[in-house]
Symmetry: C2
Subunit: 801 residues, 2 copies
Amino acid sequence: MADREAGALSRRDLDLIDAYWRAANYLSVGQIYLLDNPLLREPLREEHIKPRLLGHWGTTPGLNFLYAHLNRQIKARELEAIYITGPGHGGPGLVANAYLEGTYTEVYPRIGRDEEGLRRLFRQFSFPGGIPSHVAPETPGSIHEGGELGYSVAHAYGAAFDNPNLLVACVVGDGEAETGPLAASWHSNKFLDPVRDGAVLPILHLNAFKIANPTVLARIPHEELEKLFEGYGYRPITVEITDPKDHDAAHQAMAAAFDDALDDIRAIQQSARSGPGAVEGGVVERPRWPMIILRSPKGWTGPPSVDGKRTEGNWRSHQVPLANLRENPAHLAQLEQWLASYRPAELFDEAGALIPELAQLPPRGAHRMSANPHANGGILLRDLDLPDFRDYAVDVKERGTTFTEATRVLGVFLRDVMKRNERSANFRVFGPDETASNRLGAVLEATGRTWLAGTEPDDDAALAPDGRVMEVLSEHMCQGWLEGYLLTGRHGFFSCYEAFIHIVDSMFNQHAKWLKTTREIPWRRPIASLNYLLTSHVWRQDHNGFSHQDPGFIDHVINKKAEIVRVYLPPDTNTLLSVGDHLLRSRHYVNVVVAGKQPTHNWLSMDEAVLHCTRGIGIWDWASTDEGAEPDAVLGCAGDIPTLEVLAACAILREAFPDLKLRVVNVVDLMRLQPDTEHPHGLSDREFDSLFTTDRPVVFAYHGYPWLIHRLTYRRTNHHNIHVRGYKEEGTTTTPFDMVMLNDLDRYHLVIDVIDRVPGLAVRGAHLRQAMIDARARARAYTREVGDDLPEVRDWVWPYN
Amino acid sequence: MADREAGALSRRDLDLIDAYWRAANYLSVGQIYLLDNPLLREPLREEHIKPRLLGHWGTTPGLNFLYAHLNRQIKARELEAIYITGPGHGGPGLVANAYLEGTYTEVYPRIGRDEEGLRRLFRQFSFPGGIPSHVAPETPGSIHEGGELGYSVAHAYGAAFDNPNLLVACVVGDGEAETGPLAASWHSNKFLDPVRDGAVLPILHLNAFKIANPTVLARIPHEELEKLFEGYGYRPITVEITDPKDHDAAHQAMAAAFDDALDDIRAIQQSARSGPGAVEGGVVERPRWPMIILRSPKGWTGPPSVDGKRTEGNWRSHQVPLANLRENPAHLAQLEQWLASYRPAELFDEAGALIPELAQLPPRGAHRMSANPHANGGILLRDLDLPDFRDYAVDVKERGTTFTEATRVLGVFLRDVMKRNERSANFRVFGPDETASNRLGAVLEATGRTWLAGTEPDDDAALAPDGRVMEVLSEHMCQGWLEGYLLTGRHGFFSCYEAFIHIVDSMFNQHAKWLKTTREIPWRRPIASLNYLLTSHVWRQDHNGFSHQDPGFIDHVINKKAEIVRVYLPPDTNTLLSVGDHLLRSRHYVNVVVAGKQPTHNWLSMDEAVLHCTRGIGIWDWASTDEGAEPDAVLGCAGDIPTLEVLAACAILREAFPDLKLRVVNVVDLMRLQPDTEHPHGLSDREFDSLFTTDRPVVFAYHGYPWLIHRLTYRRTNHHNIHVRGYKEEGTTTTPFDMVMLNDLDRYHLVIDVIDRVPGLAVRGAHLRQAMIDARARARAYTREVGDDLPEVRDWVWPYN
């Protein structure tokens, strides 16, 4: 640890930074405990105390300590910086700092910089009608709520990408550091380009305890810990607080560590940006970026012990160290003493405003971490320059007779989006090693795969430090990077195997909650939508088998607020293009698109596709035989494979019963099925009835778990006639058509479903029904004999052109 | 690398092990490609080739190489070992080895050890009606399918816990190593007791490529990689295959590495078990366990190049290196050459059986990794010795007037389960640092928290190397350990914050799929159920706020097969005890229990609780006023908080309208709501109608997202009268009652719902309706003023005793 005399900070620096830290700590404790008497101008009484004590003290003083020191560096070095709070439950600290910097009052004028403002600041925290206990969207400067642990480092890197002048300080709690996503995220340094991207400064905060247990990283030998981070590719700089009372030593050590780290970052960036590496066409060596390890006592500066039990430096300070204050006068006295230890009278003036010396300490304007526009990315968001997606259309002269890999065509569109926005540097594509596998490989004609680890002569040429295709075999990292990228005002696109997107279910939850909350915060601006393309989907995981078959992400997604969530199931290539264009224009949603990567029948011309996608749902007249009259049966479909099977069934039925009035309804925008009272895209009952009738049988082939369609339509007039086929968790390694047969979604079964449901068809259709049963048996037998699908199924084309 | 001359293997050893490896590789390639001509006894023709080529070659030769060397060690050291295949898509390799060991023919007699057996072995792989492409449940010796990457190390440790004589060899692919769960799982070594537990030998297999990209760990400097693993607490032993053609050198190096690692493991175990550490009452120093890093070419021994492009040692060998064989005679010839390179005629005799020299090479009987009973845990499963849960009952003299923390009482039961089964060493409790927070702390009276990292004097005394409470702040690790523990024939219990169980959504998926598939495999025996207790649930996350509120795991779970999934919502303490007992007796399910940890009203005596839980659903006569007649309205409830609100609403309605015939139906077993055609626990329509009527209004208060109840009941006669309240994604940091009000689940709103739905009540109830609106406003205002719930709400008790 740096010697106090030899340190970087003068006596006056030390006094000021310590006073600032005390102010932040005082405001933090005040928020947790006080309803009133915010400046301790009268003896603390029980009515000044909140009836329910909610909040987390343990991590907060460390967060405040780091924040104060970062402020000093920002001023000294004129940095642009944001602060990611991994231990997001340390909310009081971040609110305190935003208040000290004046940002809080700017965005919430009722929280003034006077005694009444302090009273309101304290009262509102974790209080009904007030603000959440975490570093929530309501907290200026936050892009990371930190409630669900594990994503701080990924968010930090996401924020730093394409922001060459940004420093992202990222505090990682040692609890969070035990999570999987975080343990992997340290490797993000292999994906950060020192030329083009900003810097991430991870700060591992070893508080040593979680709720009840010690933490793993605090309890391995320090040498092991340093090796771990050297192994992750960092240069660790350790600050250890050995004497919690010796603030001078603590400040000197922290200042020295930040000086070291930030000097190093500057040197790395200068060398990469102006050194010989930069000259040689972007061949950049991966730097060993610095990171800081801070060992400090949990609940530092709080009560050393409570009721005879050690509290400072112990897990007991995790939440509220002093409880039952209303019943326990000794605790009340101890709280008063604790608050007084920060000497508020020296920090705030008569009116309750921060004294000028301290008010001048933090940076100004947008240099304040609480006011940095990157932490309110909507402010910085620029529209993408998009080519006309119609130019990428496949020509559909005859319906259902040509085949295209829909995602491959989309890849060409994305390639040109990438090219057009290269200079803006605000678009990236993410995926777990699957961009090419998902047939989006054309993107690699416009940019590389981001890669700063080693390369070898035989590698794919696309690996490049400044690539904009982010691939790592971690859905968590892809999602975390993308979230960080979007939250700081950029655009992105995430493609993933459908089954494995469940890996980030909980991350989606948190992002959707963030979007929902920020819609309601006036000073937050809308950001670009989070766009998922789920491909390699359930019906075409015949080769990888059962573990790769799960279409349930849609079910998961639609539990979140209707104003946030959109789900699209384009049935062919042109519709996927239209949807893809929409995704990149939309704001503040989570868009889920499911589309296969295998060759698929082309059904709609581009003009038709645009119209169909605009409506989101519609009757396909060219396939239907009801000619505007009330149909005998409706065939509904959503998803590329269900659409194929419905149309094949339709062709069989048309041939067998030329007089049967069939109506084919295709759904692109799944939320159209919901009532308009439930979802902004929902159809009115009248519209729904006009498509699905009020009393005719509906056989509906759906991409995913069939009950989802019931969930969406249970309030509709004709719901009791809707019969849904979908994935019912039957599958293995087999052929594509066997997959649909295993789940009764196949054309033959759909024909049987119609025969069984249309009044009067039982007798007329008896022969066809048996033929369908035979066809299934024949298909099954052929597949098991030959190992492939029946040619008549595999090569089927729409016969009515 | 060990010198060939100086190596541990004699010339004969080298020849034999290489021949065995060739045999495994030959069988692997045969499975991927061949329909017929399994021994190449005639020239290879296109009709011998499968029409669809599915499978993954790249990882397979490395898996086979390791397997052969492990076999040698098992025999030499008389080890009990299992083999976890992280790269599970290397299925052909594991099937090949099970076949070579004879196990395959034992469990699948139609796959004989002759030419016809080989033909069938090859044909069935990834073939309709055959076996999956992964190391699926169908593969003898597997407890790890490996399709979704990230869980191999956690599974391995789970298998090793409480199996002191077991060696778990765990191959980790360098793709998988990029995932979050895997990156965290290396720290499992801080939770493995060398005295009581077995050993895990992780083998990081650096194949250098994923589907398309290089892997991170293969492309950082070797020194960095070694530091990483030293930082994780291991002693890495590296084997690098520098010349893929020099098999002798490769075998010598591998043999030496295994000798080193296994000598070390033996020494660690002997020292811990008989050394001074063992004497001093279980104070065990954490060993630096060995691990192996194998750098070998992807697709080793496969075609060096195809169409002029490098294939061996490149990502191009990931799946099927040679494609389009039916159209490309050159590829067909190259395949024939490749197969012939293994010299099958030297490996298999005239009849197609493995030659005796090789057949004698692997271990015998249960020493074969493919036949180790730990990999078919149901064989080893013993019932838990359970105390009578009725002995833990809370006394309920008057209903709804006393309060108990349900999970705290369950904790006492679990404590005694722990005690009674200590000697059997087959029960553990898992949770992410929340066992005490979730009020299950009594368990710690019976055992410690597993911990082999450092301790300090102020630590909780419960930390112990041989604890059976597994806590780490990673839901992934908890789940992975527990799965490994269950799959090897033991019992467990996982408690988790409700919102954050979504972190393991995808892991649940994979386990549920495993259970579904193994039900259909005759030689697999049922294992203990995977038991989740979800507490700190949505309605009592008033303090942590919106990010901690998500009751959607139930929605996720019930997409899986009905025969696997059970969901329980016990409304009070005695019902939780009854459910808890049931969980620990059940087999081969995933049980999800949702129950709060806060003090809850006690409604049922133990006898009533047992009866109610046995039925799973029932009318609460004591709360109802219909006296067996057709009610005016049914009040349904599922979950502790919804039950409370329904009963409070019921009390208001009874007082206001003494003549109103109300029926209260409580649901413990959620699957009872489904039709019996959909779920084995489902009620028949007649039973359902007898509870919910065919035409009366039903107001249903549900714990989670309301549409789930619609999804379960949409086929019921009275469905159109069922009106559901639940969590609609509204919440923040506030009070418990404010939480229910924000979502319209509160008693006052339920009363309004009844008034609005019972014919004729609109007029009579107009006054009460307004009073309810006023009560909501009053409660809201009080909460915002005082920061707590109205005392009349907070302290409400059931008034009808």
